[in-house]
């Protein structure tokens, strides 16, 4: 029985260790270009959705109580700096 055995914990294998089909030039056979294109499309849609959600609030403008507050505070004679 071996004693003092060193246990080496392997870090998770990076992606390149995954067996992947490759063409004659050693490039991955998966359709990289369309994946990238799809990725861009998806990202563009996420961006649109994000802005639409955000702009919905922006379009509400300045609520009355906030605008009153800012005007009140900025008209105040504020001696103390």
């Amino acid at each position: 029985m071996k004693t003092g055995k060193t246990v080496t914990i392997q870090p998770p294998a990076p992606n390149e260790d995954k067996p992947e089909a490759r063409d004659a030039m050693g490039r991955p056979v998966t359709q990289r270009k369309s994946e990238v294109r799809l990725g861009r499309e998806v990202q563009a849609r996420i961006g649109q959705q994000l802005r639409a959600m955000y702009d919905e609030v922006v379009s509400e403008g300045v609520p009355q109580h906030i605008s009153d507050l800012v005007r009140r505070l900025s008209d105040r004679d504020d001696g103390a700096a």
Binding site: L50, Y54, V57, V62, L69, G79
Partner: protein
């Protein structure tokens, strides 16, 4: 001394965007409005530290974000899982968080770690540069970039977008709205 009206107008002009940012952080309109109000009180009390000609939105966003963070930390002591609580808020009061139309998207957004969410909003919705967003969040530009990237990847996964047709917030809701409900 009264506040320069030009500065006041810059503050007011930033409010709509500041609210949108606050809502995306809090997930709740009432809390968001409190946060905006507190931000403005603080900003106007320290308006001397704003240098005219510099970026007013970035200045106000920084103040709001810092206030939110300190409140968030306080709340975290009360409720361990602040993010879970945020998601819960969304679930129980969807009507407080905007139109139902965005509920699916908001729910996905709520599942992101808060640092990724804020980075994505600042860059992707508020339209800040990576540099400004980094200044607002007090971190390196590279950190913002990686947070934004991780946020986008995660959102795509959560929304399971794998084709254009598949994308769309609450198609069912939309169908209902389109098909019925007309009186």
């Amino acid at each position: 001394m009264k506040l320069d009206p030009a500065i006041r107008d810059q503050v007011l002009a930033t409010v709509p965007s500041l609210r949108a940012f606050a809502i995306s952080l809090c997930g709740n309109i009432d809390r968001a409005d409190d946060l905006v109000q507190e931000t403005l009180l603080r900003a106007l009390a320290h308006i001397d530290s704003f240098q005219p000609g510099t970026n007013m939105p970035a200045w106000l966003f920084t103040i709001l974000r810092n206030l939110f963070r300190s409140e968030y930390r306080k709340r975290r002591r009360e409720v361990e899982d602040a993010d879970g609580r945020y998601a819960e808020t969304l679930k129980s009061h969807p009507e407080q968080t905007g139109r139902v139309e965005f509920s699916e998207f908001r729910a996905a957004l709520a599942k992101l770690p808060s640092e990724q969410r804020e980075a994505l909003i600042l860059v992707g919705a508020s339209g800040f540069s990576y540099e400004d967003a980094a200044a607002i969040c007090g971190c390196a530009v590279g950190t913002i970039k990686s947070r934004v990237n991780r946020a986008r990847t995660r959102l795509a996964d959560l929304l399971a977008i794998d084709s254009v047709d598949d994308f769309g917030p609450d198609r069912a809701t939309r169908a209902v709205l389109a098909g019925g409900g007309r009186s």
